[in-house]
Amino acid sequence: MEAQGQAAPASTGERLYRWLDARFGLGKLVGWARHKEVPVGGHSMVWYYLGGATLFFFTVQLASGVLLLMYYQAGEQTSYESIRYITTKVPFGWLIRSIHCWSAHLMIVSLVVHMFSTLMLKAYRRPRELTWLSGFVLFAIALGFGFSGYLLPWNELAFFATAVGTDSVKSVPVIGQWLLEVMRGGPDVTINTLYRFFALHVVILPLVMVGVVSTHLLFIQVQGMAPAMAHQPKARPGLKFFPDFILRDLLLWLVCLIALSVLVYLLPYGPGIPGMEWELGKKANPLAPAYPGIKPEWYFLWVYQLLKEFPAHLFGMEGPQAALLVVTVLMGIWALVPWLDRRAGKNQPSPMFTDLGIAAIVFMAYLMLKAWDIGGGSADHSKLPDPRSTAWTCSLITLGIGSAIALLRILAYKQRWMFFSGAALLQVVLNGVFGVDYLVAGAIAVLVVIAGLVLTLRKQPGATLEAPR
């Protein structure tokens, strides 16, 4: 009977926990984790897991990158050769390289989707402006990772893509040439360029990335995830962070790992889309003629195409200079969205910024499709693609995507404010269907938006530019 009254002996786990708790005060952490909740809004919970998926791919990048580093040797006579050695001789070397490449692209995909979902849910609104900004910085760093890592195999494709990519830096006013030489380690792409890209890729960017990711996560932990907006239905109670949310997060990570494994096995050199392929090919030869049909990685394609759309000179500026100015302004607007969207800051609906996101998708999709020369009639580079038929086909596809999104917004979400996305589609139609110059079409679209907004204001005196609540 006495024995029954005594407490059961503590398990090893419990004893370890007590030991750690006595030293590090784990109780507080456990208490915090037990009470932490993730708000559940009227929208799908899927969007909450994309940041975690991005983090997962980043972790895979770190692990596979370290493994590659064990065999990779930067140098004119060793870079290409060591990658070749990794993929052909090192046990599971092919697997590690392929995982590194696939995971890099999937990280950018999940990051972009995460960013757009944050925009659509207005999760950036006060007080989470800095979380958005740090996310934007992470996006820029991820692009930097892609750009610097591309050159490291020192193959033909990487060499010429880097030469074209770095060349655009020349357009920066005043310091362009200096900046180009700093980036390249000289006036041309040489092995010195690879050395500094290598340092950037394996030391500088990972350190910065880990720092900014930590800050981003800290912000989220301190402020919690953004709750649903005031006008959205808030039917359900919050979801416990631990273990409910964590378990779902881990499940997604596992699904991502399965998907990664299948992709790596079935398509070890990528899906074969220009800007998303990593077959080693021939070693870089600076004296060889430029690689035909050279294109940057898919996430830079819209900038690449925009540069092509600009004439040699525009308003006293060089074409590339003007194009990069446009890209900088657009990126600036994107980074400052939490401060520009005042209605969301007041927890009011802001359809203008929802539409801005859709317009960005239409704008970039059209440019990307054109950069892929879809409909141009030359997949094998035997002849130059026809720009007119490319524009025609790409405009029809973009129009299809844009119309489908618009229908979904109208029918499922009862959204009506579509000035920006309408203007982006107008530009696509003018350029692709009617053959109007891309920039002229853009100017017409901007004028139509301004006229539309002015007319709306005149019809409803005292109305603001935004939709009623």
Partner: protein, 525 residues
């Protein structure tokens, strides 16, 4: 300090070595030409001509001034013609010091029949008097100008009686072309003379020509339709055989020969040694042949043109006995194997041309494995039916060759795509590709060894091919096994991860149900 500065300035001013500044000043007489106006009232010479003249060295500008003063340069229009040639400064110095060119390029003083023009079509002058061609002529570029062939002296102001005295009279020389070879040979057959210009150029062209069919016709039978030097090399625009614009560049030779030999009217009356008319379809056949396609379509200058088999200056149809000697200059291995074969004796006995008998001559097609066949459409059938019909071994050997080659080719066609497929799956197929290259090389060797017409000789090549196939198959087997290992590894990993994922999904569902119950419990007091 100021004294030092003064000294430096003084030294700089007094430097005798410093050249006088030359700003491309033109002689006064040349300047005057810029005032001349054409029929439309506009100046004939403009800024382009002035810019060109200014770039010329001082002595060339002075030379032009002297030409104007001596009236060998007749006026602005005359100067414009010469400047339109865009000559280098060295070539300009030659042209402006040669009175023959100067006078014969003056549109004001020359009759059209004697007028050298930069564009004969536009001026209506003789097409052979094309100045642009003339200044790129190989003779002109080595310093030999009009006087070199026509006689006279380029520095004299008037025509002298010795000009053209070394030629037959105009009415004779255009009808009777027999004088041309000897005339060119005055220099080209003289080793001492040629040493001063082009020591590497042979000087036996005339001797060879005399023995050629063309030479016999022209010099012995006095047939002026027969080709001589000018027929192939041209006149007033002669270029070396390496120039793509030359009539004797390898790719131009079929058309140069075809100019006469593909013209039925021109060739009417000419016969072969057996008395049959000389055909005129050789060029057409050659262009469709494997050699013609290589030379004219693929741009392979190593491929033979007409002269490769017939010779250049000693052009003759190769005799039956020498046909194979011509072919073996390139296809040496095939010829050596043939020499050691049973066929050699048989061919000699029947006086058959060796290679030509099976492969043809001007219309040689790409050799295929299908040619080795005793069937009527094959190469062996017709001859063997007539000359060796009782020899069973021949047919068996032909069948063996054919089946062996077919086996090698079939295996090659099977293995290559499989290796490529595995490469796209990320597997290391370099050793397989190397082995398949060995097979490719062995196939070339085996096909060459068909000319031994002997199983033993043939098998030396085929054996290497069979070994390459065995090696490729073994490597492919190992690579396929690696692929299976990867696939199984993936399936096991996916299986484990999926199991874990399903377990987690159940746990999540259980948690969700528990939370829902808790929430309901809270709502109902």
């Amino acid at each position: 300090m100021s004294a030092l500065l003064a000294l430096v300035l003084l030294l700089a001013a007094a430097d005798p070595a410093a050249p006088a500044p030359d700003e491309g000043k033109l002689p006064a007489s040349v300047e005057k030409l810029f005032e001349e106006k054409g029929k439309d009232g506009k100046p004939i010479l403009g800024d382009t001509e002035r810019a060109y003249l200014k770039k010329l060295p001082l002595h060339t500008r002075e030379l032009i001034g002297k030409d104007v003063d001596a009236v060998t340069l007749g006026g602005a229009a005359h100067l414009k013609v010469l400047l339109s040639l865009e000559l280098s400064s060295q070539a300009a110095a030659i042209v402006f010091s040669d009175n023959c060119i100067l006078c014969h390029a003056d549109p004001e003083s020359q009759k059209k029949i004697h007028l050298f023009s930069a564009d004969p079509k536009a001026t209506g002058s003789n097409e052979l008097l094309n100045l642009k061609n003339f200044v790129s002529d190989v003779h002109f570029r080595r310093g030999l100008s009009c006087a070199g062939c026509h006689g006279g002296s380029p520095d004299k102001d008037v025509m002298t009686p010795d000009i053209a005295a070394r030629w037959p009279k105009a009415d004779v020389r255009h009808q009777d072309r027999t004088w041309i070879p000897e005339f060119c040979a005055r220099c080209h057959a003289d080793p001492n003379f040629m040493r001063g210009y082009n020591p590497s150029l042979p000087t036996d062209q005339l001797a060879k020509y005399k023995d050629s069919q063309h030479g016999i016709l022209l010099l012995e039978k006095k047939d002026s339709k027969a080709a001589q030097c000018v027929s192939c090399h041209g006149v007033h625009g002669i270029r070396g055989p390496k120039s793509r614009l030359s009539k004797v560049h390898p790719q131009a030779i079929p058309d140069t020969c075809g100019h006469c030999h593909a013209d039925p009217k021109y060739m009417a009356g000419y016969q072969k040694a057996d008395g049959t008319p000389l055909p005129t379809n050789q060029v057409e056949q050659f262009k469709k042949s494997v050699h013609g396609k290589a030379l004219l379509e693929k741009g392979d200058l190593g491929a033979p043109a007409c002269n490769s088999c017939h010779g250049n200056h000693a052009a003759m149809p190769p005799a039956v006995a020498s046909v194979s000697q011509v072919c073996r200059t390139c296809h040496a291995q095939n010829a050596t194997f043939f020499d050691g074969s049973k066929h050699k004796q048989a061919f000699e006995k029947h006086h058959w041309p060796e290679c030509e008998k099976c492969h043809g001559k001007h219309d040689i097609a790409k050799a295929t494995d299908a040619m080795i066949s005793a069937a009527p459409d094959g190469l062996c059938g017709a001859c063997h039916a007539e000359n060796a019909k009782d020899n069973k071994e021949c047919n068996e050997t032909a069948l063996y060759f054919r089946s062996s080659l077919t086996d090698l080719v079939t295996k090659q066609q099977e293995l290559r795509p499989e290796a490529e497929e595995l490469a796209t799956r990320g597997l290391d197929t370099e050793p397989i590709q190397a082995s398949l290259e060995e097979l490719k090389e062995a196939l070339v060797q085996t096909r060459t060894r068909v000319h031994t017409f002997d199983r033993g000789g043939f098998d030396q090549g085929a054996k290497a091919g069979r070994e390459a196939i065995a090696k490729s198959e073994s490597l492919l087997q190992a690579t396929r096994s690696e692929q299976r290992y990867r696939r199984n590894g993936l399936l096991v990993s996916i299986g484990l991860m999926s199991f874990l994922a399903v377990a987690m999904a159940f746990k999540i569902r259980e948690l969700s149900r528990r939370r829902a119950k808790d929430n309901e419990g809270r709502r109902t007091p």
